[in-house]
């Protein structure tokens, strides 16, 4: 019996129960308010619906809390209980092994396909089902009790002079605040964990060694000088911006000033589609098409230089993966970031300014160069900075096409590695969470975060200064 309860589909049940509580609460509150109206002809402060919402709110709040606690902690609780009952033999297992064993148990319990398994596994699984079954039953009971309690408490409050609307409005405001707070709390949480783990890393490796060291070899020997990674990141972002900044800006100028309404209507979404291509597709495009091209070109330059006698040995590295290949493709990827935002900004320059310039006898290009672009400059700069942030944080293209070797070289045909590539390399495969190797990924993540934050702050400052000047 209890075991069968263990197979209850809690997701559906919880949702159904919550919906039921809300509708019941609403009807209870509303009917109560309307009965007052019919019997006494009272003048109500709030309309019937608000009393309904109020009661529903009181029914929902405690039930939702219980449901949330269940969703968050039920697995841990059941595993904990089960763990304490497991026979001696299990205590020799490592933490990770135990966890995966328990997860296998939970999976088998869900499908019910454990009949043929060995005796210990079957026993553990049926005990798991018993435990989770009683937990589920208890949770549902608690929710129903809480709903009844909340609804009856709120129902008693329904009265002609009860200001239900104000309460409901306050409740709605609190809900909206909660949504905003969740987003912020997530960011704060991520930053806090980055900081915490980074501090653990810096306890083992000095900050200066990390920031200014030129030797990065985290995988094999413990060398954590991240300067080559920073260099690679900025080199590739720079190449990307050499592509994206002019093309994006000129595309934006064409779209906003020259293209007819019709052309613009088709071209802008098409351009924005570039941003919708999965980065892994860009990645293999870079690896399979661009990188061989870059290599061939570099080899050509090498043999040319040798032939005309400028050098005696190859001048360019001409590697199969290269900074140039990754940078070029990344540049194409961030074009829409520049063009779309710049186009919006240029369009936002008031038509009256264009009229003014045209009426002075300015040509179209004079108007664009001398009036529109200066007025739109802060927004354009902001769009560039956004694109840089995007390029620095981009991972897939560089993982596939930039290479793994950490070094400082200005030769664009050589392979470089970036912060993001190394984070991926550090955290894939067998990892232990307290080795400096893994922790260094958090330090790299922190640097990445700070740099992006810096770019965003600069963009904000630029826009603000412009506002002070012209508005």
């Amino acid at each position: 019996m209890v075991q069968q309860l263990g197979q209850l589909p809690m997701g559906w049940l919880l949702t159904a129960l919550l919906v039921f509580v809300v509708t019941t609460g609403f009807s209870v509150g509303r009917i109560r308010a309307e009965r007052y109206l019919v019997s006494g002809g009272h003048k109500f402060h709030s309309r019937g619906n608000y009393h309904g919402y109020y009661v529903a709110m009181w029914g929902l709040l405690p039930t939702l809390l219980i449901a949330a606690v269940y969703v968050l902690f039920s697995q841990t609780a059941v595993f904990g209980l089960l763990n304490s009952e497991l026979p001696e033999g299990f205590h020799t297992l490592s933490k990770a092994e135990l966890q995966s064993y328990l997860e296998a148990v939970a999976g088998a319990a869900k499908t019910g396909g454990y009949a043929g398994a060995d005796r210990i596994f079957a026993t553990v699984t049926s005990r798991f089902l018993e435990l989770s079954g009683s937990l589920k039953a208890a949770t549902l009971a608690a929710m129903i009790l809480a709903a009844i309690g909340g609804i009856s408490y709120a129902r008693r409050k329904v009265a002609p002079d009860f200001r239900a609307r104000l309460k409901v409005e306050r409740g709605a405001e609190a809900f909206l605040f909660l949504c905003a707070a969740i987003a912020i709390a997530t960011t704060v949480g991520i930053v806090a964990s980055l900081l915490y783990e980074s501090l653990r890393f810096f306890a083992q490796v000095p900050v200066t060694d990390f920031l200014f060291g030129t030797r990065w070899n985290a995988q094999t020997s413990a060398e954590f000088g991240a300067l080559p990674l920073f260099f690679g990141t900025f080199m590739i972002a720079l190449i990307a911006m050499f592509v994206a900044a002019p093309i994006g800006l000129f595309a934006a100028i064409y779209l906003s000033e020259y293209a007819s309404v019709r052309t613009r209507r088709y071209m802008k979404p098409l351009l924005e589609m570039l941003a919708g291509i999965p980065t892994v597709v860009y990645g293999f495009f870079a690896l399979l098409v661009i990188a061989p091209g870059v290599r061939a070109a570099a080899l050509g330059i090498n043999s040319l230089l040798i032939n005309i006698g400028v050098t005696s040995e190859p001048f360019l590295a001409a590697q199969p993966t290269s900074a140039l290949a990754a940078g070029l493709v990344m540049g194409v990827m961030v074009i829409p970031f520049v063009s779309s935002l710049s186009d919006d900004v240029i369009n936002a320059v008031p038509q009256t300014l264009r009229d003014a310039a045209f009426a002075m006898g300015a040509t179209k290009s004079e108007t664009i160069k001398q009036i529109i672009l200066p007025a739109a400059l802060p927004g354009i700069v902001a769009s560039m900075l956004l694109a840089v942030s995007r390029a620095i944080g981009e991972t897939m293209i560089v993982v596939m096409a930039a290479g793994q070797r950490a070094r400082i070289s200005f030769d664009p045909s050589t392979d470089l590695t970036t912060i993001t590539v190394q984070i991926v390399a550090l955290l894939t495969g067998e990892t232990q969470f307290d080795s400096p190797k893994t922790l260094s990924a958090f330090a790299l993540g922190l640097v990445l975060f700070l740099v992006t934050l810096g770019f965003n702050l600069i963009a904000l400052r630029v826009v603000q200064r412009y506002r002070e000047k012209y508005e």
Binding site: V261, P350, T352, L353, D355, A359, M360, G361, A362
Partner: protein
């Protein structure tokens, strides 16, 4: 007085003995059967209208009557609107400005324009005025440019107020000052004609009075066409008035005559406030 004589008669030059000899002149701009279409929809219908030098011609009429659209034909500003088409002939110095050989950029340097809302460039006061002379290559050196800036600001009656703050942004001025800045900016290119599209509609009465005084002053040198919603303003500043209704030119003539004894019933109804 027959109609032909009236067309060729420039009232701005009457009343002053010395100018009597010039009383009969040819129009500075002569429009013949001008029609304007926006995306195929006709907004102005066969308007023929002469505009005289050294006088103010007011275009009045209810909202949407096509007066601003017509005004924008005179410096081909309608070219900048997608789907706008202008037919008919507009002669300036004997040349049809609607013909394809005429470069609108050069035309606009001869026909300046002031807009409804003051629209100074987001540049300094000085650079706002200097913009036109610079792009048209009117000056050789900085002294010459300084002189043009000062002269234009003086003519626009703004010099005393801004001479110590030329480096400040034009947008830091008050609305009325901004509009005078825009007038100064238009003057700086040495135009022959100045078009004004409801130049006072966003200004308070005091600023409006200053602009009206300025228009009266500018009339001595330029040919001015002004679109206005205010009949009092038309009566105060213009010598000739044209009344537009639903895209048609209903009546034109001396301002005094239009306001005291209009020939058309619709004109009378409009100026006495019965519609519009």
């Amino acid at each position: 007085m027959d109609t032909t004589a009236q067309t060729d008669y420039n009232p701005a030059l009457t009343g002053d003995g010395a100018d009597k000899a010039q009383a009969l002149v040819y129009p500075r701009i002569d429009c013949k059967d001008v029609s304007v279409f926006y995306s195929g929809k006709q907004a102005v219908f066969d308007v023929s209208l002469p505009v005289y030098d050294r006088s103010v011609t007011a275009l009045i009429g209810p909202s949407g009557c096509g007066k601003s659209t017509f005004l924008r034909c005179l410096n081909r500003m309608n070219d900048t609107i997608d789907g706008a088409k202008v037919t008919g002939e507009i002669f300036m110095d004997g040349e049809n400005i609607n013909s394809p050989e005429v470069d609108p950029v050069l035309l606009r340097s001869r026909v300046g324009m002031v807009f409804q809302k003051p629209n100074p460039f987001p540049k300094s006061i000085y650079d706002n005025i200097a913009y036109g002379p610079r792009i048209h290559g009117l000056v050789e050196d900085r002294q010459e440019l300084d002189a043009i800036v000062e002269k234009s600001l003086r003519r626009a009656g703004l010099w005393q107020e801004v001479k110590d703050r030329l480096a400040q942004p034009g947008t830091s001025l008050s609305g009325g000052q901004q509009q005078r800045l825009c007038i100064a900016r238009a003057i700086a290119v040495r135009p022959e004609v100045i078009l004004m599209d409801e130049p006072c509609s966003s200004l308070d009465p005091i600023a409006t009075a200053r602009i009206e005084e300025l228009i009266d002053e500018l009339r001595k040198r330029y040919c001015i066409v002004i679109v206005t919603h205010s009949m009092q303003q038309a009566a105060r500043v213009s010598q000739r008035t044209a009344f537009f209704h639903l895209g048609h030119l209903v009546e034109m003539g001396d301002t005094d005559q239009i306001f005291t004894s209009p020939r058309e019933r619709r004109t009378e109804d409009y100026i006495t406030g019965r519609f519009g």
